[in-house]
Amino acid sequence: MRTLKCVLLLLVVITMSGCWDRMEINDLAFVTGTAIDLTDDGKLYCTLQLAVPGSKEGGSSGGGGGHKGTFYVISATGTSGTELHQALQKKSSRKLFFSHRSVVFISERLARQGIQEALLDVFTHDPRNRLKTYLVLVKGGDAKDILELKYPLKQVPIEVVNEMQKSGDDVTVTLRDFYIINQSEGKHAALGAVELGDRLKESQEQLFQSAGTGVFDGDLKLTGMLDEKETLRLVWLMNKLRFGRVTANMPKDYGEIGLILNQASSTIKTIIDDDTVRFKILLEGKGMIEENNTTLDINNPNQLKIIKQGMEDTIKQQVEQLLLKLQKKYKSDCVGFGQEIYKNNPAMWNRIKGQWDTQYQEVTTSVQVNLTINGAGMVHSTLEIRK
């Protein structure tokens, strides 16, 4: 009797719990990427890229062929995520499996209209959505084009992930980052962007390239695009710069200097006097001179000082311009100045929260750049043609 009871109890453990979602791996359709577009009548147009599992035959035949038939694309129109999912599942003979999706592309047009309802809800509920999925804007054109693009290497989403991971000076935002920005006080979102690139000669293959950053305002509407150079400054301001290249013209027509930044950090200091807020931004960087097209000799400490000063001034000026653009033109606080106030003085933040979007445009900031130039011995002075 005792053993019978034990066996019954064990059976309860086995039947009542556990994962009864057994699914053979070859009954799944692996979604590698999603693209969301806006149709002319204001509906959502969702495209999925599905991977064709690398088959044994493909492997052994090797050689040419390559990417041919490594993926296919299905799309559907709808107004909500559920509707889209249902329509897409109907088009797929196998169960759609989203855990391996690496990128969600959003078209610029949809982003300008606002991505609030299109994105936030669908992706939050299903636990099979990876929070590590990258959110990427597609600059110009339709997002689906980028999924249909035939890339010479692997499928586009996988390559986009590579691009995002290797990059040190791009805005890389995953679903998780996006949700965190969205839920935290006083910060607006910014997403990295890609666009269709060159077409390869004599083949249908086409490239894509990263295309700066899209910045959003408080209503999650895209307000403007930044170019590659501005993106680097923005990433530095956000204190996320891992490495990057900066070039600057030296004063007095000395010429141009190229610098590789190895380490970069930013500190934003909030200064609150009564009811006005000021920000002091300190950008610090450590780098090596990569290119020296000037007549300055790096080995000479005095001339190195000139180089350092010249670089710092250029960067300072560019960052100030960028801040002005973000404040006045795009009205996007993607650096998170509001958040700085919230962290330093929550009481004050609660008071001004309501008007922050307008106040932000008038806030004064001062930028200070502090560069350390290492490895001067590697470059020396410019090669001079003997006369």
Binding site: G18, L28, I158
Partner: protein, 503 residues
């Protein structure tokens, strides 16, 4: 506190064995008489229809003086002729037999059943006219195998001697390693018909006397008609006979026995079996190879960790593959999941059936490999390897990842150095695989917990099977997780521990 299971006393089997008992047993009180003809009649009665029993009569002055009885196949004939028959024949009469015979081991008795028992141990019986005291002379001449390298526990560095089927040789091999009077050997006979000699050995002073008492008690309670291998004894004295894990360590190597005796264990030698039993056994002694102690300690430690790692592979590798590919596809990197899915595209079976099929075929290959005559062994290897490795994958019956997993599992199994522990591990793979196929990773966790609960609660002669790791003792770091250099080991030498630890 040490806890022992009660000795095995099978009262209900007693009557079965009683009814089978032989003349030798029944006539325990029968004594020889002074009449030599009468004494001969006793033997003739006992050995009716036994053509290999020889009665050699020796007359002096045409009177029957001596009768030599022996079993032809069990004695050394040369010795018999040279040192027994020759001196007896040459004598003039009047001398006692023990004055004439020059053989080391002699006994004398007037008890018939005792004397008959001696006959089977290679003694020749000498009956003297007019004397009720019967003399036996030990001249064993049973043919035996030469000492070879043990096939089940080969080592690269270390002694290459292995036990053989003869008890006295085996004892000698241990004696050669422990030249001390503290090395005790207690003999007893088990088996109604087989009358197998079983010897309990231990090192007095190092061993825990309670364990010796327990071994003695459990051996004495064995009632069986025949012992053909020490495996019989092992099953009788185990604490938990229904466990897949062996609780008695069996080895073919005299150096292992000597080492274990030095650690205070008890070894049981069984005549006609090359396997010596050692108790108490722990899981960790099953994971150690004797070679660990003969090679340098850093590599020995590393190899030991490899074994720990691959024991897990041996049990869980196929289960993990099945669980992850059928329940948790999100855990596999994208590129890998696509190639696994691609290779499974043509396969008609679910992953679990596929893995089970391959595991069963692999076990069949292993079994066939043991049974197969040496001449056709390579054929099976090629056929098995080609058919399973190549053809089955190309035909689309089995996917390539499963073949890889099964091969890894097969290799992993054989990293466990002890044959009997290895067998237990081989068996556990299947229930875990089944759990994984029905419940996914949750099932594997359940299986792992089940195994751990069982293993940590097992006891072998009062020692916890998982000690010294559970309960954790410092000695675990000395001789389980790492193999410390031997000179340090002696520095930290601890006395036998009463609380379940093995040292």
């Amino acid at each position: 506190m040490r806890r022992f299971r009660k000795g095995i006393t099978n009262h209900k089997f007693n009557h079965i064995l009683k009814s089978k008992s032989t003349l030798l047993q029944e006539d325990k009180d029968l004594l020889f008489t002074a009449d030599i003809e009468q004494n001969e009649a006793y033997f003739k009665e006992a050995f009716v229809d036994c053509y290999d029993v020889v009665y050699r009569r020796i007359d002096i002055h045409s009177n029957l003086q001596w009768l030599v009885v022996y079993i032809d196949s069990l004695i050394d004939k040369k010795t018999l002729e040279e040192y027994i028959l020759k001196p007896l024949q040459k004598s003039e009469g009047g001398e006692a037999a023990n004055e004439l015979v020059s053989i080391g081991t002699m006994t004398s008795s007037d008890n018939v059943s005792e004397t008959i028992a001696k006959l089977f141990q290679g003694h020749a019986v000498i009956l003297t006219e007019g004397c009720s005291e019967v003399m036996t002379v030990c001249i064993p001449g049973l043919s035996k195998r030469s000492i070879e390298e043990p096939s089940s526990e080969p080592v690269i560095r270390g002694p290459k001697e292995g036990f053989i089927e003869q008890l006295s040789t085996n004892l000698g091999l241990i004696r050669a390693r422990l030249k001390t009077s503290k090395f005790k050997t207690e003999c007893m006979v088990i088996g109604e018909y087989s009358q197998t000699q079983v010897v309990i050995t231990y090192l007095k002073g190092i061993v825990d006397d309670k364990v010796v008492d327990q071994v003695r008690a459990r051996l004495q309670s064995i009632q069986v008609d025949g012992i053909l291998d020490s495996g019989y004894i092992e099953e009788f004295i185990e604490d938990q006979p229904y466990s897949p894990f062996p609780q008695v360590h069996s080895t073919e190597r005299p150096d292992v026995v000597a080492a274990e005796l030095l650690e205070g264990k008890v070894a049981i030698l069984v005549d006609t079996s090359p396997y010596v039993l050692i108790v108490p056994m722990t899981f960790w002694s099953g994971m150690q190879s004797s070679e660990d102690f003969y090679i340098r300690w850093p590599i020995a430690t590393f190899v030991r960790w490899i074994r720990f790692l691959f024991v897990h592979f041996a049990i869980f590798a196929p289960a993990l593959y099945v669980a992850i590919t059928t329940f948790h596809q999100e855990m596999i990197p994208t590129n890998l999941v696509l190639s696994i899915a691609g290779s499974r595209e043509a396969v008609p079976f679910p992953a679990m059936v596929e893995a089970l099929l391959m595991e069963v075929i692999f076990e069949a290959l292993v079994e066939a490999g043991i049974r197969i005559p040496k001449q056709i062994g390579p054929t099976i290897g090629i056929v098995g390897g080609l058919v399973i490795g190549q053809a089955a994958v190309q035909a689309g019956l089995i996917s390539a990842p499963v073949v890889i997993i099964v091969s890894i599992t097969g290799i992993s199994t054989f990293t466990t150095p002890r044959y009997s522990l290895r067998n237990g591990i081989r068996l556990l793979r299947f229930p875990v695989l089944f759990l994984a196929g029905t419940l996914g990773l949750y099932g594997i966790v359940l299986g792992f917990l089940g195994i751990m609960l069982h293993v940590t609660s097992l006891r072998s002669f009062g020692t916890l099977y998982f000690s010294p790791v559970s309960p954790l003792k410092m000695s675990a770091f000395k001789d389980v997780f790492i193999r410390v250099p031997i000179r340090l080991k002696l520095l930290f030498k601890t006395t036998p521990d009463q609380e379940g630890g093995n040292r």
